[in-house]
Each structure stands twice: as C-alpha cells, then as structure tokens.
Amino acid sequence: MIDSFYIAWKYLVFNKTRTAILVACITLIAVLPLALEIVLDESEHQLVERAEITPLLIGARGSALDLVMNSLYFTDEVPELIAVAAADEVMDTELAAAVPLYVRFHARGFPIVGTTLDYFDFRQLELRAGHPFASLGDCVIGASLAQQLDLKPGDSLVSSPETVFDLAGVYPLKMKITGVLAPTHSADDLAVLVDIKTAWVIEGLVHGHEDVTRTTDSSAIMERTERNVTANAKLMQYREITAASPDSFHVHGDAAAYPLTAVIVLPHNDKSGTLLRGRYLGENSAYQIVPPAEVIDSLMTNIFRIRHVLDAVILLVGLATALALMLVFALSLRLRQREIDTISRIGCSRSTIARLLLLQSLCSLS
C-alpha cells in the first residue's frame, strides 16, 4: 500500500502544474460554499445580536434600514437628521432612557460616534486601557481600530474634513485618545467614540476661537461697538481643545435644535416600550420609532432569499465541476492506457492498477 502511495505521489509531483490546477479547482469549489456559509452565518449572527439588544431607535422618517444600519453598525449612509429635542421628548415621557447618537463624521476612515457615557453602559463596553472621554476633544477608540492604526491612550486622532476644498466646511479636529475599548466583536471595535458635543465641535456648531476683545489683529475685526464686536473668518479658530482652550469653546444658538442622527431608546419595561411606539405611530410625527430587530429580521429574510439562489448556483457550479473532473479523469485514463497496459503486462494486477489510479485521484482531491 505504501508503495502505491509512493508511485501515486511521484506521479502527482511529476505533473505538479496539472495537479495544482486540479487541486485549486476542487478546493475552490469545495471551500467556496463553506466559506460563504461561515461568512453569512457570522454576519447574520453579528447583525441579529446587536439588533436584538437594541430595543428601539428613534430617527427621522425615511428608510428604517438606513437608520438602523447607521445607528447600530455605523455605516456611511447618514439618515435625515433629527434634533436633540427628540431625545429630550423621550426623557420627558419617563417611559425610557435615551442615548443620543450622532454618527456622521470620520477619522482616518473610521466612524466617529458622538454619544454620551450612557452608551458605554448600554453596550456594556469595557476599557482595555485608559479611561472614558471626560472633556471636549477626548475620544475612546475601538480595539481593532487601535490595533490597525497602532494607537494608544495619549495619542491623538484627527477627524477628516468632509470636503477638502470647502473652506467654510468642517475643519479637522485633533482629538486626544483617552481610552481603548476591549474587543467586542461588533461595530464598536472600529469606532471612535466621542462625547456628543465633541461631534458638534467637529461640525463647527460648538467652536472655540481667540478672544475677539483681545485680538491684536485689527484686520480680523469687522465692527467694534461698546457692546458688540463682530469678527470675520480671519479670526483664529481652535482646531484642538487643549487645557488652555476649553473655556473658549461655546455654543451658538439653541442647543435643543442641535443635530442627532438617532436616539437609542431604552424603555423601562415592555409596556413602556409599547406606549412609546404608540406615540410615534401617527403620520404627523416627524420621527419614526423602529425596533431594530424587526428591521434586521426583514433584511435577513431578503438575504436568505438571495442565499438560496446563491446556494443553487453553487450547487450547479459544483455539479458542473464534478462532471468536468470526471471527464478529466476519464481523459487521463485514456492518455495513460499504454502505461496501464505495460504494468499489466509486467504482472501488475487489475486491483493494484485500480488502487494506484484511485490513490492518485484521492491525493489530488485531498
């Protein structure tokens, strides 16, 4: 038997290119459905698990899927914005707690998630190093992000400008990393978590600049009266919040009107959840309230349909490959007929010849 293996092995090594192509084809066909199955199962698990532990989401009316994907998985598709007042409304009902989310900006390609420390409690996030954000400009980064960018507490991360050529747009903000999350195997692993106000700083709604009353550059002042000083864009804006500058950061306008992408709603109990959902059912409501599990469930139903089609396609391709392989082996047998005749004439039994050919085929397949 060992000698049969030896001869089979020698044959395969001699025809290594042909064997490699054959093995690659077989491996691809065998592994592809398996890999697809594993990837889909893992994606499904992650999607469903995160959706199931998020009771309700409030967002602007529109695509519920965009809202859920942006709020739970921090996708780039930003839903219509809502105002902070939406979170206040939830809190006022005393039926649920509200965790605001503002997921719009990026830092080196990773999503910046503006939220509050309640988000850490809700998601049960633990820090592997450092401490949670405490001041404006602080950020906590996910474990995978830290690994990919080789960042640690004390390092800094600069937010990406929305458009490079828009001088009046969002300027980059240099954020200080205060903590790194322990791995969660979720979207949080690749997120930059900041206080909601820091997200507004990035947008320019909360901003800091040099004191207009003390600036020495007269060309930055458009008008100065006894009660008011009007400055132009030349006034120096702070792009980093340092120990010396936090007091200079301030809010303009009504803070209740500041934007959010969504509010995570955490009802105190099932009844509270049902009552809350009832409040947003009316078509006049500017907001929609969605249970993420239902949205993801609907998405998975569609994915399953596609998966069934994909399975059928893979099965057909597999079948075609199996037929092609049978043809290859049949042709190979024909090509080797002379060799088979020779070893048969020398005295090799038919069973040994069959074993040799089978071993060569199995070695290719294994």
Partner: protein
Amino acid sequence: MISIESLHFAYPQHGFKLQIPAFSVPPGQKLAVIGPSGSGKTTLLNLIAGIYTPDSGTIEVADTGVHELDDAARRDFRITRIGFIFQDFELLDYLTVLDNILHPYRITGALQLTPEVRQRARELAKQMGLGDKLQRGAGKLSQGEKQRAAICRALLPQPALILADEATGNLDPENKTHILDLLFAAVDQRRATLLAVTHDHELLPRFDRVVDFREFRAAGSA
C-alpha cells in the same frame, strides 16, 4: 526451459489464429524469432508469459504449466519468473531511473523490495552504464539509455526467462549492437534463457538459434 505442444490460440475479435504443433527452447539458449508482421510472434511471447491463455494445448516454462495457472498465479509467475523487454521501453516518465528499475517490486506482493534488492538494482544499473543516472527522470534519457533501464527492470527479479519484443527496434545501429552486447552479457551471467522477437536480420548470427515463424504458419492454418 520452454515446451509448447499442440497450441491453438485465436483472437475472438478477428480471424487470426496461431497454431504451434510443437516448439521448445532449452535452458540458457538465446533464440531469435523472426517472421513477417502479423505472423503471431508477439502473440507467442504473450502466451508464454501468461498474458493470453491458449484455447488448447500446453505451455510449460521451467516445469510450470502456464496454461493451467489462474489469473493471479499467472501474474505472479510473470513478474517473478519472466523479464519482459519492450520495443518502446515503456518506462514511466514520472519516475526516476532507479524507481523504474524497482517498479516491478512496487506493484506486486510477489516480490519483496529489500535493501539487498536496491543494492542489486544499483549494481545492475552501473553494469549497464547508468550508474550516474539513477536519480534522473526517465523522460530525460536517450533512447539507448531508456532501453538499458528497461533491460535492468527486466533483469532485476533474476528471471529464468527473458522475453524481448523487438527490443532493438527503436535504436540506431550503434546503440543496437551495444544494447545487444549488454543484454547477452547479462543473460549469460545469469544463465537465463532469451527469446527475442526481431526483424533485424543483421543480428541473427549472434543468436544460438533462429526460428522463422513462417514454419508455424506452414504447419498451421492461420
């Protein structure tokens, strides 16, 4: 060594029939079989080797009634007692020269591949001028070298009978003489019997005896 009596053989697919009333070869003889193509020379070799079974008659090789053996016994008999040399060498390109020589030992349980056999294979190859080419792929050998490797493969099990089917048919004149020298020397050394089918009349004087197959055709009714 070989004794054939009242042999009848016909191919079922076509009308060819071989009839040999009586034919014998004494041990140690070097016999050349000549005759026109299609006269049944190769068929005779296949019958002696037990590849074909006669329809009737007897074939005895070294006191073994080949015609009486079953399939498995004929295969064992062939691989242990007969060395076959083919016109086209029939080496396996994916094996080295040494592996080709040892090949019969790897495809049957009737022969045991021992260190002694390996050593003998090396010595035989050296004797045939292939000592430095043992690890070379068979496909990379010249025609003459291929036939020498094929002779080594046939001789390694130390058969009492060597059947050569046009063994020099694909060789140039120089190689033809050289290969035949080597084959005869090896046969003499082992006191084996050689039955060689050939078309080459120049080589006939070197054989102990020559049989023209037309004798059988005349005697039979092919």
